[in-house]
């Protein structure tokens, strides 16, 4: 028990000390990847633990990012209309933009709005017992709706360009390396806190019900639980995590556009969890970092054909590492230990397959 905790502490401390051994550029990349890791944690909760595959988390990530970006945009505009509104022919700030000039409201909204939308959507679909593949595809339809709306309402959202060109956050210049380092460390702390929260949740009674819902929803229902409320809860929680990640993303990357809430990013989010190990929270974090590092590396080294490597990576993981990198380490370790104990070969019958 102690060794486990020590391991986690070491891992997060190593991340926290990133500024000591990473260059400015690599640190910015890592900060971005850690935002993605928070999304992956949420995906892991709903997919790995509860068996809900959402292909629409880009929407929640994007909504969270937009909330904070609206605040940043207003701060950059310095009391005037944001630039894109001017050239879209808007003469006064739309009413729903006004409260976002308050940073606390904006950041609060970046968690609550995704959670609320997820709760409404989740309540309807889960109550109607839409699950599995159907839910996944409906969540894609939701992506199409949001992306099309955000692109079309250019005068409110900045259209395809999105919101960008921010200057300060709470008065601190976003361009300053020190502010970026502080934001990076904040990301690590929030990631660690989210991880602790998710771990506590999965270890609790609620967490066990969630796993039970994944393995046999109807049995859970017959036992007197209401799977809908559990599912709605965990789905909203994971949407809030995605929104939080969006906030951190926009602070560090300085940009949010509808393309980032689209179908391709939404599927990639699931792939992070799949590559790392969908049943493992730490796996989700590793997956987000590894997949995105691989993407950066391949595209820097082979700008012409890198997507082939990325495609191969996904195929290999699904075919040969169904439980991701962490799952593969586990079963390898198990086999070794069993072999040690019994002097025989291990069978993989108890590997978890959903």
């Amino acid at each position: 028990m102690d060794k486990k905790k020590l391991g986690y502490w070491l891992f997060f401390i190593a991340l926290f000390l990133g500024p000591l051994y990473l260059t400015e550029f690599r640190l910015a990349l890592m900060g971005k990847f850690l935002c993605f890791a928070i999304v992956a944690l949420g995906i892991c909760l709903i997919w790995g633990y509860t068996g809900i595959l959402s292909l629409g988390h880009g929407v929640y990530f994007g909504l969270g990012a937009y909330c904070t970006a609206m605040y940043l945009k207003l701060e950059a505009a310095n009391g005037q209309l944001p630039d894109f509104m001017e050239w879209s022919g808007v003469s006064a700030l739309p009413a729903f933009w006004v409260p976002f000039s308050n940073p606390i409201f904006a950041i609060g909204a970046s968690l609550l709005i995704p959670a609320l939308i997820a709760a409404i959507l989740g309540f309807l679909t889960f109550k109607n017992r839409i699950k599995g593949v159907y839910f996944s595809l409906i969540s894609q339809a939701v992506v199409v709706v949001f992306v099309t709306l955000f692109v079309a309402k250019q005068d409110w959202t900045g259209g395809t360009n999105g919101l960008t060109n921010f200057t300060t956050f709470l008065g601190f210049s976003l361009a300053s390396p020190l502010v970026q380092i502080a934001l990076y460390m904040m990301t690590v702390i929030i990631l660690g806190a989210s991880f602790a929260l998710a771990a506590a949740l999965t270890n609790s009674r609620v967490g066990r019900v969630l796993s039970a819902v994944r393995d046999g929803e109807n049995r859970v229902r017959f036992l007197g639980f209401n799977p809908t409320s559990y599912k709605v809860f965990v789905y909203s929680l994971s949407a809030a995590l995605a929104g939080l990640a969006g906030t951190l993303f926009v602070l560090q990357v300085g940009l949010i556009s509808p393309a980032m809430m689209g179908i391709i990013p939404s599927i990639e989010m699931v792939l992070w969890a799949a590559v790392g190990g969908r049943h493992s929270l730490i796996g989700a974090i590793l997956g987000a970092v590894i997949v995105n590092s691989a993407k950066s590396f391949f595209s820097e080294a082979y700008p012409d054909i890198w997507s082939i490597f990325l495609g191969l990576l996904f195929i290999i993981v699904v075919m040969f590492l169904p439980n991701g990198i962490v799952g593969a380490f586990e079963s390898w370790n198990e086999k070794r230990e069993k072999a040690k104990r019994k002097g025989g070969t291990a069978d993989a019958a108890d590997s978890v397959v959903s």
Partner: protein, 414 residues
């Protein structure tokens, strides 16, 4: 064993940590490696520049050719002895049609590779994503595509046309030669919406009428309904700001609906020689486009340019406006660096104003105030061989005016 049990096993932790350390050390190692490279390069006689276009994803259709043109210009300059005695070393990156990737790669080129300049971008969204990166790192971006104006960053040079070098004169030409009633169609994004807002103000001021304005989502492929709206309104002119693939579907279906260039004039601002080949010349013959350069533009520089481009990339390749603007951007940067006597960004910016260059499309001059270029405006009719026949040009290079400050009707647009 339960999932939870598995999760908490000691081995997981060890595995996880070793993997994480690996990933991190990989990051750091590649860093160290590259920094050594950087140091080595500095002492040698090369200067690094970035080439940042989408080589994958939906925008690869258009952007790959710009990379080709830029690499060709770099090679030509190197063969002629380089810039300030140094050979140019291009570092190619893929923006992957994804705006944060553009920002990420721009940051990488500026911070890690420490390039002297970056040539890149196509969509406005990619430029807007890169803009803060270039401003914060005091980098230099050369952006080679016509765009909607309303921008003038101190760290960007715009070698494509702004609206008063393409759209405004072409609308005037249409009003004088083709008809007064306009139907505006465009893809649903920033360039068409901004351009159409300007066109509407101009129509009002110059005596045109607007009979319809429609936008379709990017990647839209069914134009049946839009075409029946056009039929119902019977415009004399369709002003087309559709983007990429949508053009193919629109023109194919327009022809099928029995509407030809004789019935209504379509003038496009996103269709160059390369796009014509993707749509089919039989469908486009007789329609118009407004640009600053055509492959058929008659200058001695262009003859050389087209021949060199075909020699480098194959006889079946064609040039086009943005390709020419990308090509000339490299030369303009090199000339500015020569004049400044240094690759320092501020020195190059300072020296760039007033620099002249005989580009394939005619003489261009950098405007020191807004960092756009003076360019000749041309309207061309598409011929059966997929090339343009120039039917009008502005005679002399037009001064860039990204905010349309010299047009009274544009007041209140920005």
């Amino acid at each position: 064993m339960t999932v939870l049990g598995k999760f908490w096993s000691k081995q997981t932790i060890i595995a996880a940590i070793s993997a994480a350390t690996l990933a991190l050390s990989g990051c750091a190692a590649s860093n160290a490696l590259n920094e050594e490279d950087g140091a080595a390069a500095d002492s040698s006689d090369t200067v690094k520049v970035g080439v940042l276009h989408s080589l994958s994803g939906t925008m690869a259709i258009s952007e790959v050719s710009l990379r080709d043109a830029e690499l060709m210009a770099i090679e030509e300059i190197n063969e002629a002895g380089g810039v300030l005695g140094k050979q140019i070393e291009p570092i190619v990156e893929d923006g992957a049609s994804d705006w944060p990737t553009f920002a990420e790669k721009a940051k990488k080129l500026l911070q890690k590779d420490e390039v002297a300049a970056v040539f890149g971008g196509w969509t406005s969204a990619s430029r807007k994503a890169m803009l803060p990166v270039f401003e914060q790192n005091n980098g230099l971006l050369w952006y080679p595509v016509q765009y909607e104006g309303m921008e003038s960053s101190p760290n960007i040079f715009y070698t494509g046309a702004t609206t008063n070098q393409q759209i405004v004169p072409s609308v005037t030409w249409l009003l004088e030669n083709k008809g007064k009633s306009f139907f505006l169609i465009g893809s649903d994004y920033v360039f068409p919406r901004t351009a159409n807002k300007e066109i509407k103000a101009q129509l009002e001021a110059e005596g045109g009428t607007l009979v319809g304005e429609e936008y379709t989502p990017l990647g839209h492929t069914d134009y049946g309904t839009l075409i029946s709206k056009i039929k119902a309104e019977k415009p004399e002119v369709i002003y087309n700001t559709l983007n990429g693939d949508s053009n193919v579907a629109f023109f194919k279906q327009l022809k099928d609906a029995g509407i030809t260039a004789d019935d209504v004039t379509v003038l496009s601002v996103s269709i160059a020689e390369e796009e014509i080949r993707g749509i089919g010349t039989d469908i486009l013959t007789g329609h118009y486009a407004a640009w600053n350069y055509f492959q058929t533009t008659d200058t001695p520089e262009n003859e050389k340019f087209v021949a060199a481009y075909k020699e480098a990339y194959g006889d079946d390749r064609v040039t086009g406006d943005s390709i020419e603007a990308a090509y000339m951007a490299v030369y303009l940067w090199a000339a500015a660096a020569e004049k400044a006597g240094s690759f320092d960004v501020d020195a190059v910016k300072e020296a760039a104003g007033g620099i002249e260059f005989n580009a394939p499309g005619g003489k261009v001059t950098i405007d020191g105030d807004n960092q756009h270029t003076y360019k000749t405006v041309r309207v061309g009719e598409i011929q059966a061989d997929g090339q343009f026949k120039e039917v009008w040009n502005s005679g002399e290079p037009v001064k860039p005016d990204p905010y349309l400050e010299t047009y009274p009707w544009a007041e209140g647009l920005n």
